[in-house]
């Protein structure tokens, strides 16, 4: 089993749960790397649930982590982006469960998950620009969810969304009462049966790449990915099952 410095982790059935809430610093990034390596190499779980506490989903980037007496460099931000991209590609179905503040780094993290479920009290905001820096690669991902105009409202004007607005804008997939969050996760997991993990991984990759390349290039990517899916052992089993029914 894995040991983490600041985050909590447990597995039950086919669901792994990562407990966040801590401000983002070097220790959090290290824990997230440990979790990703464990999920990729050893874990039998099919689903990863990322949860905060009642106050916040995940803390913002801690300004005190920067030492003003020394020249700042970019490498810490690069490490953060690398681990977000790792979570985005991890071969598990990922669900962010959001209560309270989902601001800055928290929203950046929520955007790399496959699904976002929020309680009515959840609030969404990217406050980095008002604090003098940039909201990471949320600048790359956000507009794909909500469109460029709305992304400007969040990133440039620092607009805060409540849960209902966030759902209407497409930032959140479901809003459910706080006491119903566990049930909502359970029914999402139950409805989502991992028939072929390879198909999930490839479909997600294609969707993520869909905004950046031409149709002519994309069709080649799709054919390569589809070939991998239909030649997987799991797809063969599903095919035989379909024939025997």
């Amino acid at each position: 089993m894995l040991t983490l410095d600041v985050l909590g982790y447990e597995e039950q059935g086919n669901v792994a749960t990562l407990q966040l809430g801590h401000p983002v610093d070097v220790a959090v990034i290290r824990d997230l790397q440990t979790v990703c390596a464990y999920l990729e190499d050893e874990s039998k779980s099919d689903v990863l649930v990322l949860r905060g506490n009642a106050e916040r989903f995940c803390g913002e980037i801690d300004m005190r982590a920067f030492d003003p007496s020394r020249p700042l460099d970019i490498h810490g931000f690069h490490k953060w982006e690398k681990v977000l991209s790792w979570i985005e590609r991890i071969p598990k179905f990922t669900i962010a469960v959001i209560r309270g503040r989902c601001v800055g780094a928290g929203l950046q993290l929520a955007l790399v998950c496959d699904q976002r479920i929020a309680a009515p009290g959840a609030r969404f905001r990217l406050d980095e620009v008002s604090r003098g820096f940039l909201p990471g690669m949320a600048t790359f991902r956000l507009a794909k969810y909500i469109g460029l105009g709305r992304a400007r409202s969040l990133v440039l004007a620092g607009k805060q969304l409540d849960a209902v607005e966030a759902e209407r804008w497409g930032l959140v997939d479901q809003v459910v009462p706080a006491e119903g969050l566990d049930a909502a996760v359970s029914s999402l997991v139950a409805a989502w049966t991992p028939e072929n993990a390879i198909a999930l991984e490839l479909a997600r990759r294609l969707l993520n790449e869909s905004y950046s390349i031409q149709y002519e290039e994309f069709i080649g990517n799709f054919l390569a990915a589809q070939h991998r899916a239909i030649t997987s052992e799991r797809f063969m089993e599903l095919l035989k099952k379909a024939h025997s029914e």
Binding site: R89, R205, E217, L223, A224, H227, R228, T231
Partner: protein, 357 residues
């Protein structure tokens, strides 16, 4: 600080490449072959290739006549030796070395048959010593560079301090058949001419300042897909050797590529995410896509593979060395980084090597 173990492993000291002077866009080559078939146009224009270096005969009265088999063989002999010399010089001279310093010479070519082999011409004409050990690997295809790296590395491992040079030289335009068939059009739209040389040595070595080192070679894994053997082949067709590529090749390679890569990494206790550099043969757009989606590589991982394909086409056995040269020139490699060299070709072969800087 180089460890004792690292010093006992063969290291690529330098890479050099060469291409014929004439460079053609895909549109230019298409115009020469006079094809109006939309499928042929598609092969030329939708395959990621922009330009290729080729040796093509001058037009007579505005038309390029088909070359005879004899003319093609002569072209291969003349240009394989010429490009070979240029690639060898580009590889050796930055280190202050000459062909006379080389103890083992391995020459790889598939695009023409000649006896005596390319290595004999190079000894006669390019200053290699009379006691140089020679090997010519002929007809193995695009993968042959990685195959030949195995005996070259083995020579270095058993002869510390000796220099071994491998030359991959392909005059693909000497394998062009202009017969109006679709199969020939596919081949003629893809392959380009080019040569690449690497020099290897075991033991401590200091390159001149600013000259980037290649990696040390840790091990190889091979994979032959016999079921697909006839999907890439030369046929004798109306008196000419005509190459054939089956449309399912990318998918055969895709569904097997995990096997040699998995074995290679497992043998050294490594995960895929620990490989910092992927040096993959520029076989063609679809083959590269297939490799990307089957072993989870990004466009960034195959950036050199794609740029070599775009600028040179598929230069067959030397392709992966063109990518390696680009990687070294990029100056992003750090000591300790792991890399995988990979080339695919007839057999169907997937040849891999694990390397470390």
């Amino acid at each position: 600080m180089v460890s004792k173990l690292a010093e006992s492993l063969p290291q690529i000291l330098s890479v050099g490449t060469a291409t014929p002077p004439d460079r053609y866009t895909q549109e230019e080559v298409l115009a020469m072959f006079d094809s109006v078939d939309p499928r042929v146009r598609g092969f030329y224009l939708n395959g990621h290739i922009k330009t290729r270096h080729l040796v093509l005969p001058d037009p007579v009265n505005g038309r390029r006549e088909p070359e005879s088999q004899e003319a093609l063989i002569t072209k291969h002999r003349r240009w394989s030796v010429r490009l070979g010399k240029e690639a060898i010089d580009a590889c050796l001279s930055p280190l202050g070395l000459t062909p006379a310093d080389v103890d083992y010479l391995a020459c790889v070519t598939t695009t023409g048959y000649l006896c005596p082999g390319v290595s004999a011409y190079l000894v006669k004409e390019h200053g290699f010593r009379e006691d140089v050990h020679r090997i010519d690997v002929v007809g193995m295809g695009c993968n042959a560079g990685v195959n030949t790296l195995q005996p070259v590395a083995a020579f270095c491992a058993t002869n510390p301090g000796k220099l071994a040079l491998m030359l991959c030289v392909e005059v693909c335009s000497a394998a062009y058949v202009n017969d109006g068939t679709l199969r020939s059009a596919i081949v003629n739209s893809l392959f380009g001419d080019g040569a690449a040389a690497v020099v290897l040595r075991t033991g401590s070595w200091v390159n001149p300042p600013g000259r980037k080192y290649g990696p040390r070679i840790l091990g190889f894994e091979s994979h032959t897909i016999s079921d697909a053997m006839m999907t890439m082949r030369f046929d004798l067709y109306e008196g000419k050797l005509s190459f054939f590529l089956d449309r399912d090749i990318p998918y055969f390679i895709g569904s097997h590529v995990e096997k040699p890569i998995g074995r290679l990494l497992e043998r050294f206790g490594l995960k895929r995410r620990q490989i910092a550099h992927w040096v993959v043969h520029s076989g063609g757009r679809k083959v590269i896509d297939s490799v990307k989606y089957n072993i989870g590589l990004t466009d960034h991982d195959v950036r050199h593979t794609l740029s070599v394909l775009r600028d040179y086409g598929n230069v067959s056995s030397g392709s992966f060395l063109f990518s390696l040269e680009k990687l070294l020139n990029e100056r992003v490699v750090k000591p300790g980084d792991f890399g995988v060299l990979m080339a695919m070709g007839p057999g169907v072969a997937i040849e891999t090597a694990l390397v470390q800087w």
